[in-house]
Subunit: 335 residues, 4 copies
């Protein structure tokens, strides 16, 4: 029996998830779509016969034929929608962030902990990217010893209009915060954000450097740049006791032309992480069958938001800011 | 409604296909498995609840709940099995080669042509490898002009025991023959196989060079080596009027260790072409729904076998051998 | 007429310079060598017929047949030796640092400024490395717009025994400080050094991150690690308005073996920068003929030392430290 | 005492050699230049004070202050000039080819053998390219076992006007013939040249494939293309028993721009082999001091010409042609 999925939000991400669920994930069916704009929901279901456009997210979440919910609506709606899924006892994959405020995140954590079982997955899709997965596996295997330093880099080709030094952290760098915890298995002790720019550089191009100190002393340095122009570029290098392991930007061909040798770069995050999004959905559907949760938990979602907000405070204070966390409920303890 | 697939042959390849079909392909179900050795068929279905072990390939092909057949049994059985599928009017994905002799291949072609619709796909999986697909797309787009020369390279880490100069062509180089036609869209006019070795090199390590002349004068040079020791390595470079396009060996990470920087190599064809096998199966299942055939046709399977046998004759004569083909039925003409 | 060079210091670096001067630099002759240990000086001249071992650096500097002096003796001796060369009116190429203290450096600057002509070159050899030179040329040409962010990386395979957090800056990171100024053409406004380590990491392995802010707001991030084990690794990436330019570690061959593809890494700085040392010496000899100074001036040597000492203070204070400089004499102003 | 060199031929190559000799080679002096066109000789010496323009190559070769001769005049003049140098008892570095005909080459070999000492070096400069040198060293060390197959590739960006299928072998592929012998230490048993082109490809763009069989059964496959458009590209891969070693195209920086990552390619052979030409001249000057010959001997020059002419015959016959050689005088036997 296929898992019947309802997708809340029929924008670019929601439509993409609907397409992948209905055409490329084993064991899943696209059952329903809702959107604040009904014409968008209709446009998506028209491309996927068998799926229904529902009038509201409430309808979708309580629909009997919806086994599981994928939330891809605007960030501010994530918290209430996830709580509604928990109230309905339905598994939910929520696009990041879990919620924009730590308080909302904690309310979800508390509710799920009270239920005593994990229903929430947060869509930090990098945890399913083949490169990050192989990096994580090699770190876990310890083939080069422990990692004591990580370098991350995250460059958008073109800055979205809403980019400010603060949203650059909460929207973009938050991926680095999550993946730093995932790769090291440690919590973030402090975060220091440095942003400078030369006089002639547009504000949206100002690069940001983050320095994270993990709770065992591991250092993480991350660059986030939103207007790199040349392409979308995400890198990671783990410096271990006896060597280093780095992500390789996916490219299937190399091209020699016009005096230059090399390879094509992704234009934005969607081609770059297409495989990650696919594998995330397949793993999520599989996890609903096996009962073994995968991906970032609501606790992870809470920590990412809390650490990002500490980063925003660091921008204001100019120095490192400690990341203080609520108590971690037993449900989220690592075995 | 999912396509219910029966897999004939429960060896390494058959078991792999069964696993992918039942866990990673949207719209497919593993319905049945048969094998000359019933314990092997049982071992596979035991890992995939819902699948049935059938007593024979005959039973499987005529089973009412089998919508489509995947043939992964020994090469010599391919021809009769594909003919049985045609007799049953069922789509079949047959592992390469379509059959070891040109006569058997032509019998299939004739039978399918008489049916008037394409039911046969031959598992030349490279046509679904993301690298070859992108290479093909770029050649079709003509961004660097026409390709007038191709270099191929195909190295196994460890030679299988059955390798001889002849089977190296019919088993291994046959992939190059198919992909040369796929990438160029031209037929092979002649094939010249050169095999030499130094006195101290084991016979199974003797490299082979193939020079193909396509029917428009395009040259294809291919090296096939079966005992390269260092890893499995498949390459292709298309030399075009204004530049070249090359495959990049898939690797998600780079590693610096012990005085060496670089990336891990695949050990054999299965990890190297895992994505190709997956995408082939997904595309095949999709094609059964849409009715638009994908992959190598039985005609392509015939030509690959015929060209490989011409290569074997070239080994004997020491010079180039023309590839002469039967008439191509209208069913296989390119639109 | 060849320039006759006297080399002070016959240790590893001095012996290397003597060898290159006498065998691979056009227009130069190795005239004399001195060392605190006369057997070392003798060992070097024995390998280079025609060169004389002199009893002391004083003898060497005032020797009539020594046209120019190369100082490769211990760091603490650099200042007095360079002053002696200035007193003798002889050009001197002094290995970095110019002197360990800012005061000594300033004394040299003042003396040379009083002479009114540049006689001192400081051996920041990276300014002659083909990679840094091409990076500098491309930045100057502005083909990708202005650089607003630089990443540097400097990893030793094995930490020398004297390494502490402070000497890591004054001995190793000082190269980054000089090259940051060279590549950007700007002064360093502030330096922030961050050093952390996990409990189980040897102190000599603790990585250090430096964040430099240049006086126009350009950011420079640098990692310095002294015990990387896997090899010697120096990198630089300049992030410009429309793209990035990176150093490529020199390697003339690639090797595929044992399941790994890649290229050999340098074991330490000498093979990595062999070409830089050679080109530095050739350019220095050429500059003595043309009268056009090349390389780092004594002012540059002073700034590198001053900035490194500011970095050491940053380690103590935990925050960024401003780099305050004396007035720059007209002799060192950029045209 | 510097070696005083006279350069015959003041075209592009001669002028380049004159510049390198006078500015970048230790132990050498540019003493004299001659050219059939006296204005060209004058133009070169005007750039290098101290050098004299001589009226003829005869004058230059017999000039008392010319210790050694570098021949960079048109190919047809090489043979007589080298013989004149031998008659004068002067060492000569002759640009390739030694002479266009095997007979002329053999006359030089015979004359030098009669003298009983090696005075002739042929300018197959790849033997001094750092990449080929490292490849040769690694093959000699045998770290990956014996090489049993080599792939070479030689692409010019833009075909010179004189290019025909035959001159492509005698002018361009001759480098591959020499380097095949250098890398393997074996003679060429046979050569098979294959040239085809598609109807719409300009004749000067027709690629050529060479298959060499060395006298121990080692295979060498080489592509030569003269109109590759995208850049100058020379590659070599040695396939050994346990791995492969490949040349890496020299590049000091990588560039990310406009959706493409990669590195700049050389425009033609001069930047690509600038280091090889320099190192060749330095090694030649050094060898004149030590008396130990370096580089390709006149015997090597003879074999390269003979093998190239066999390649031309192969183009005519369409099959492999044996390379038959005269007896090798003792002077050229490998120790």
């Amino acid at each position: 029996m296929a898992i019947r999925v309802g997708v809340v939000g029929a924008g670019v991400m929601g439509a993409d998830h609907a397409r992948v669920l209905s055409s490329a994930v084993a064991g899943a069916e696209l059952e329903a779509v809702s959107d604040a704009d009904p014409t968008r929901a209709k446009a998506v279901v028209d491309r996927h016969p068998g799926a229904r456009a529902l009038a509201s997210s409430e309808d979708l979440i309580r629909d009997e034929r919806v086994d599981a919910v994928l939330v891809a609506s605007p960030d501010a709606t994530h918290g209430p929608l996830v709580l509604a899924c928990l109230a309905a006892g339905k598994p939910v994959l929520c696009e990041k962030p879990l919620a924009p405020s730590a308080e909302e995140c904690l309310a979800i954590v508390a509710r799920e902990a009270a239920l005593g079982r994990r229903l929430v997955t947060v869509g930090y899709m990098r945890r399913f990217d083949p490169g990050y997965v192989e990096l994580w596996q090699r770190l876990r295997a310890g083939e080069l010893g422990r990692a004591y330093l990580l370098h991350f880099l995250h460059r958008n080709a073109v800055a979205p209009p809403y980019v400010t030094a603060a949203t650059l952290i909460t929207n973009a760098a938050v991926h680095e915060l999550d993946i730093a915890r995932y790769l090291t298995g440690r919590e973030i002790r402090s975060i220091h954000a440095v942003s400078r720019r030369t006089a002639d550089l547009p504000a949206t191009s100002a690069p940001q450097l983050l320095i994270l100190e993990m709770d065992d002393g591991t250092l993480v340095e991350a660059e986030i740049t939103m207007n790199a122009q040349y392409g979308y570029d995400v890198r990671a290098e783990a410096v271990c006791e006896r060597g280093t392991i780095s992500l390789v930007a996916p490219h299937d061909v190399a091209v020699l032309q016009a005096g230059q040798g090399g390879f094509p770069l992704a234009a934005d995050f969607r081609p770059r992480f297409a495989r990650a999004y696919h594998d995330e959905l397949q793993a999520w559907i599989d996890s609903l069958r096996t009962g073994v949760p995968v991906g970032a938990s609501s606790w992870d979602g809470y920590v990412a938001t809390a650490a990002a907000l500490a980063g925003v405070r660091s921008l204001e204070t100019g120095g490192p800011v400690e990341v203080t966390l609520a108590d971690r409920p037993a449900l989220y303890r690592r075995s």
